[in-house]
Subunit: 197 residues, 2 copies
């Protein structure tokens, strides 16, 4: 009997170091994967359908939305993106833990359809530290940084929607916490009832 995987929804402000933490937590593990998104954007050279994205046209995308084939979807810069439910379900059935790295809005959509998803919010130690990190990256204009900070404060107001909050003051430690959450969630009593027969 393969134990089913679990769905982990991860959000957090840009600059919190989400990807670093998630990749560190996934290191050397074969039971964790990212979900592959569906998008209407054209593939770039080197991108492969089903690897970077599932590439679909706008009609098919609309159909997927109508048929409830997406766990969440959103538009960015004139292109649509979404999380294909069938793909996620398939991975979970194979025993894979599936990670969705999405914004609060998307996390809420997923939660509607998969209430047993584990919701994790990754944040920097403080907003001041977030500002320092964003300035340190040197990739954003002061105005863009200001916009990111405003957005972070908005997201923080929704943090109580999440099950767990990881403070990323040290990526190594944060990754350990994420791995611990994944392991602990597999010990939930509700999932172990078969052993009590």
């Amino acid at each position: 009997m393969i134990e089913k995987g679990k769905l982990f929804v991860i959000s957090g402000p840009s600059g919190a170091g989400k990807s670093t933490v998630v990749f560190k937590a996934m290191e050397g593990r074969k039971d964790v994967c990212f979900s592959t998104s569906v998008t209407t954007r054209k593939p770039r050279p080197g991108e492969m359908d089903g690897r970077e994205y599932f590439f679909v046209d706008l009609d098919r995308f609309k159909e997927m939305v109508e048929n409830d084939e997406l766990l969440e979807h959103a538009e960015y810069v004139a292109n649509s993106y979404g999380t294909p439910r069938a793909y996620v379900e398939e991975k979970l059935a194979e025993g894979m833990n599936v990670i969705l790295d999405i914004e609060v809005q998307g996390a809420r959509q997923v939660n509607e359809k998969k209430p047993d998803a584990v919701k994790i919010f990754i944040i920097p130690p403080s907003i001041e530290e977030l500002e320092r990190r964003l300035k340190g990256r040197g990739t954003d204009t002061p105005r863009a940084i200001e916009a990111r900070l405003i957005r972070a404060r908005q997201e923080y107001r929704e943090a109580n929607f999440y099950d767990y909050i990881i403070i990323n003051d040290d990526a190594e430690r944060a990754a350990k916490e994420l791995a611990a959450i994944m392991l602990a969630e597999h010990c939930r009593a509700a999932d172990k009832m078969d052993y009590l027969k």
Copy 2:
């Protein structure tokens, strides 16, 4: 600011290997301790008040029960035992994670008074395996083993009261799961709200 410790209530049938798992999970850690019980039994040679137990007379014990100074209490072989609330609260305030190794009955009492306690049930992979282990120990008569198995089955019916179930098929792995649960529980969103200001 010291982060408050958490209270972990651990139960499971005799022969599940609870102590081994708990001691392995505590190895090398200074942030986890067992609670010290209050008892009316007389100290044995070498036992020290406040170390093995807090030794009290029956009057004082009754007073503790009446004054709601115990998180749970029970009687075994004509002696009374209980978990002193003040001691547990003090350790938690110091940032210690406190472990209570108690039976289902006691776990329910604790839960009434400390609903935020994390409840963990440790079990062997199967009742058949439990029987093998109890026979293998060679310390119980066949009748005593039968009684333990009946009791285990009774306890199993209350397993859905627990937050987590750890299957102890491998003490090393089970200890990792216990440690992961302890770490994950410290990432609960409700405990991190101070970081969102």
